[in-house]
């Protein structure tokens, strides 16, 4: 039915004029309010978020992002890669890795490792960001405090090569008996449990950074919680940290090697791990660098972006549950699973990102051996896809287990995008090639770890990243005493080899041990290599010198500079 009013054009026109008037008024009021808000925000906010572009030539600054808010910026407790990125810019220890991944002098101007004693001489011009000198006592305090049971540091284990460190961490001896001592203000002496070949490589890790005791005490347990509650020893210092929103680091005027630092400031103005959002930010010229997913490559080529690839050094693999009573404790079943898949297909067709490589062993392809890479010296044995052979092994396994049919195998995985794809890919692959039923148990990261710990899985999509640049960081994964060996693989010979890797000072002998470990893991089908993780990233052509590295800060802007000429 038509209402009579609809015919009343005159009324309508007047009414809409009135409405338009209101609308304009409302919009104006709204704009006014926004301006007011903007003003208020500028008064209270310390945010550096702003609407600055990726590159600020005038102020010599660049803008980047972080995947998440750094969970812990106390070097004594930090245990994740995002904190690692920030700490890599604002903290420096006795030694550091240079742009080619080599150990060079940091705050220590020289060092000496002789037998079970390491001595570091700290630079005279090593200073905190408040101008006070950095002393050997700061190191002694930091390391001892990391090991103190009350600190409950997750990375305390990295200090275990120091004498009494493990015992102190377990509360068996007082922390004072840990083998680290400041001989004077500038000399630090470290006593090791026994001579080790890779100690200097570990010292570059951020857990070995100094902490000033007086300053630590003054923060009342909030050390590292805010920008002001930290002292910085690195090339940059944090000047503002709005949690979850932005973080700004500026050139540290007291850093000893000023020539190394070319930028005046770096804004980490966005905190997100949403790949689409980051792509949009890069497209819009807000951030200097962005990681791309396989789906974004075509668009990136179309935009004619400068692309690079980088591998972060982690290896991902299927780990088996070797506990008694699990079907995967059966070697033939494991062999069948190894032979029934082809990780080339996973990497090339499913993940399809050129940064990724099929993992051939627990040791990644970049790992250095004695002279060349470990893979060149000890080529990892390979077992190409062979479904017929896999089926034979499966039959053997069934006989040994006394089962007519293998019960559904539980595949534990976390919720990361690649794990989601891989788990479904393997489910279908094993179903197709072996007729095995795989049930996926997808859990958030922590829950996956908890379930691994309690052994509630048959196979799990696991991964491991390096803590220091030595094959041992991967080689001891399957040692029987290693708590990270959550599948409880046990092999006495492998344990012996790990001990050689830990204790021997002879590089050749150590590498041979790692080669044999690699062979044992293959012979016993202890793992199925999936991939070595990689990234393809696009960089703003105006910024040069950004380093992506395996050990230390994953993305390192320390040496970056703005190339004014480049467009």
């Amino acid at each position: 039915m038509r209402s009579p009013i609809n015919s009343n054009e005159g009324f309508n026109r007047s009414a809409s004029r009135q409405l338009a008037l209101y609308a304009i008024g409302a919009v104006l009021a709204f704009i006014l309010l926004m301006l007011g808000l903007n003003f208020a925000a500028s008064l209270t906010s310390t945010s550096t978020g702003g609407v600055a572009g990726a590159v600020d030539v005038e102020n010599n600054e660049i803008t980047a992002y972080l995947r998440q808010d750094p969970p812990e910026l106390s070097t004594m407790g930090a245990a994740d890669s995002v904190s690692g990125i920030v700490l890599g810019h604002v903290m420096e220890g006795l030694l550091r890795y240079d742009e080619y991944g080599q150990i060079v002098a940091g705050l220590a101007e020289r060092w000496e490792i002789e037998g079970d004693t390491a001595t570091f001489w700290i630079r005279d011009n090593a200073r905190w960001s408040n101008g006070e000198p950095i002393t050997a006592h700061d190191f002694e305090f930091a390391w001892k405090n990391t090991l103190a049971p009350a600190t409950a540091s997750q990375y305390a284990f990295i200090l275990y090569s120091i004498k009494n460190a493990a015992a102190a961490n377990n509360g068996d001896v007082p922390v004072d008996e840990v083998g680290v001592r400041a001989l004077d203000d500038k000399t630090l002496e470290v006593t090791l449990e026994q001579p080790i070949a890779y100690f200097q490589k570990m010292v570059a890790f951020y857990t070995f950074s100094p902490v000033n005791e007086a300053f630590f005490e003054s923060t009342n347990g909030r050390f590292g919680a805010e920008a002001e509650s930290l002292l910085y020893s690195g090339p940059f210092m944090m000047t503002s940290w709005v949690h979850g929103a932005s973080l700004r680091i500026e050139k540290n005027p007291y850093y000893w090697d000023q020539s190394r630092v070319k930028l005046d400031a770096i804004n980490f103005a966005y905190v997100t791990d949403d790949t689409n959002t980051l792509l949009n930010l890069f497209k819009d010229g807000r951030i200097v660098q962005v990681d791309l997913t396989a789906e974004m490559l075509e668009g990136a080529m179309q935009q004619r972006w400068v692309l690079n690839r980088f591998m972060d050094g982690s290896v991902f693999f299927i780990d088996f549950n070797h506990r008694e009573g699990r079907v995967t404790a059966n070697k033939n079943l494991r062999k069948a699973l190894v032979l029934a898949q082809d990780n080339n297909e996973l990497v090339n067709s499913v993940i399809k990102l050129p940064g990724y490589l099929p993992a051939k062993s627990i040791f990644p392809v970049w790992m250095q051996g004695a002279e060349r890479t470990l893979h060149e010296e000890y080529p990892p044995p390979e077992a190409p896809l062979n479904i017929a052979l896999a089926k034979e092994y499966l039959e053997k396994a069934k006989q040994e287990l006394g089962l007519a049919q293998i019960p559904p195998i539980v595949l534990l995985a976390d919720t990361s995008p690649v794990a989601t794809i891989s788990s479904q890919y393997y489910q279908e692959t094993f179903k197709k090639n072996l007729g095995l039923d795989i049930v996926i148990d997808q859990q958030i990261f922590r829950q996956r770890l908890a379930k691994m710990e309690t052994g509630e899985f048959d196979i799990v999509l696991a991964g491991w990243g390096p803590d220091y640049n030595d094959p041992l960081t991967f080689g001891d994964y399957y040692a029987s005493w290693n708590l990270n060996n959550r599948g409880h693989y046990r092999n006495e010979r492998l344990d012996e080899l790990v001990r050689i890797g830990q204790n021997s000072l002879d590089t050749e002998e150590r590498m041979a041990a790692f080669g044999e470990i690699q062979q044992i893991l293959f012979d016993e089908s202890v793992l199925i290599g999936n991939y070595e993780r990689g990234y393809v990233y696009a960089t703003d052509p105006r910024v040069k010198g950004i380093i992506r590295r395996v050990i230390g800060a994953e993305t390192d802007y320390t040496n970056a500079y703005i190339d004014v000429e480049a467009q």
């Binding site: 789906e295 490559l297 075509e298 972006w305 539980v410 279908e428 996926i440 997808q442």
Partner: protein, 462 residues
């Protein structure tokens, strides 16, 4: 006192029997429901929505009979294939390790950078001679021809060896023209000046084994290398694992509609029982029951949905549908309960209830015959409007990664996965999103129609 007009006997105070026809009605009676249906039928939009809903249900339940494809089956050769893409492929020998020897099938060699074998979508084999002064090489691939700005495209590999070398590219090759570039590296691994480009036309191929395994040709048909076959048909394309979109949408429809329809049905039922009990009993019991409902209403819905998803936790192989339903049930019933209770309280005051009581109706009869049917309209409308919000909730949970577990498909999880490929393969987002929108819209419009039809007082003027 005069004589009464009517003489009453004790018999007159006995309740009348039911079912006894006392008075004839001449015109056919139209019940409430007939009346409502008549009104609904005149609402074109509502009827249209009803047909859409029937269509969606048919799609979910009968669709798999017509399109009998396993939604979990992965067609690795056709990952993220758009609908209607070309499907022809040439049969080739299976992949074998290659040592860098230039084969006869390779095109004529020119310059430094060459093909080592006939290129196809299985593998592109590249060989190169040493460039003087180079310490190593980086190989790039591009889908656009090179310009002079040294933007080479996608870096595939670094080879840190100055001598002649070879490389096999197997990375996600599609029928296309690729522009490969070999760039020399200096001693620090940085790009040097020299480079050489090679345009490569890649054709789609498939191996005999794969053809047989996927039944692409009848088993009796002979197959020779070089034959052309058609890959499996995917009318709506495939997803990021090469699974058939149509089949996945159908199985996703079962999950989404199951959650979207059954969960509201259950919580509305629970709400009706709870609310009518409270409303009917009244007094202290009512007070207590409603206070409890108030508590549950006060729980922040989305937060607790997420919380429940975590608390229930999913075991191996569980799809996550049941926990989501339980969470919806636990959190959503009080709204209906409140509504029904209010209605019951109101109806309790009505004259016809008193009349019915006077006529000797028992409580169960009152509830079943008068109260529930009279609240039915409101309940039905609530139910219809609850469906869209349940479907949205499912989609929302999938978006933040708390939805159904893979490999289970739901429209929500499919849209979420489609977001990642939105720019290159929009069909992976568009199809599930359209289904969500269509369902939500249809139920909303039907709800409007029902509200208008069932309750004259609530009739809107649209």
């Amino acid at each position: 006192m005069s004589e009464p007009l009517v003489k009453l006997t004790p018999d007159d105070f006995k309740p009348l029997g039911l079912g006894e026809q006392r008075r004839g009605i001449n015109r056919p009676s139209r019940s409430y429901w007939q009346d409502a249906w008549g009104r609904l039928k005149n609402n074109r939009r509502a009827i249209f929505s009803l047909w859409i809903i029937i269509g969606l249900l048919a799609f979910a339940l009968l669709g798999p009979l017509l399109w009998n494809v396993d939604p979990a089956r992965q067609d690795i050769d056709q990952i993220s294939q758009a609908p209607g893409a070309d499907r022809s492929a040439t049969v080739v020998a299976p992949y074998e390790y290659w040592g860098g020897q230039v084969t006869e099938a390779a095109p004529a060699q020119q310059g430094i950078f060459n093909l080592g074998d006939a290129p196809n979508s299985q593998v592109v084999r590249l060989v190169w001679d040493a460039i003087p002064g180079a310490y190593g090489y980086r190989i790039y691939r591009n889908i656009f021809p090179l310009e002079d700005d040294r933007v080479f495209g996608l870096p595939l590999i670094d080879v840190m060896s100055p001598s002649a070398g070879f490389y096999e590219d197997r990375l996600n090759l599609r029928p296309n023209t690729y522009y490969y570039t070999l760039v020399a590296l200096d001693e620090f691994g940085a790009l040097a000046e020299q480079y050489e480009t090679l345009a490569v036309e890649v054709e789609r191929v498939i191996t005999v084994d794969e053809v047989r395994a996927r039944n692409l040709v009848p088993p009796e048909q002979e197959l020779a290398i070089g034959d052309t076959v058609n890959l499996a048909l995917h009318p709506l394309g495939t997803d990021y694992l090469g699974r058939d979109m149509l089949a996945r949408l159908m199985s996703g429809a079962r999950v989404s509609l199951f959650i979207g329809i059954v969960a509201p049905f259950l919580f509305v039922l629970l709400g009706v029982i709870y609310g009518s009990t409270a409303g009917f009993l009244g007094g202290k019991v009512d007070q207590f029951m409603m206070r409890f409902a108030d508590f549950v209403v006060a729980l922040p819905f989305l937060l607790f949905m997420i919380l429940f998803q975590v608390v229930f936790g999913l075991g191996p192989g569980q799809s996550g549908i049941i926990p989501m339903m339980v969470a919806l049930l636990v959190l959503s019933w009080p709204a209906t309960a409140r509504l029904v209770r209010g209605q019951i309280l109101q109806i309790r005051q009505e004259a016809y209830i008193s009349a019915s009581r006077l006529l000797g109706a028992r409580n169960t009869y009152l509830v079943l015959r008068h109260m529930i049917p009279n609240t039915m309209g409101v309940i039905l409308v609530t139910l219809t409007f609850a469906v869209p919000s349940a479907i949205f909730t499912e989609a929302f949970l999938s978006f933040i990664g708390m939805g159904v577990a893979p490999p289970t498909a739901s429209w929500g999880s499919m849209s979420n996965e489609g977001l990642a490929t939105m720019l290159t393969h929009p069909h992976e987002l568009i199809f599930p999103a359209i289904f969500i929108s269509l369902t939500v819209l249809a139920f909303n419009l039907l709800g409007d129609g029902l509200r208008d039809a069932l309750d004259a007082r609530m009739r809107s003027l649209e």
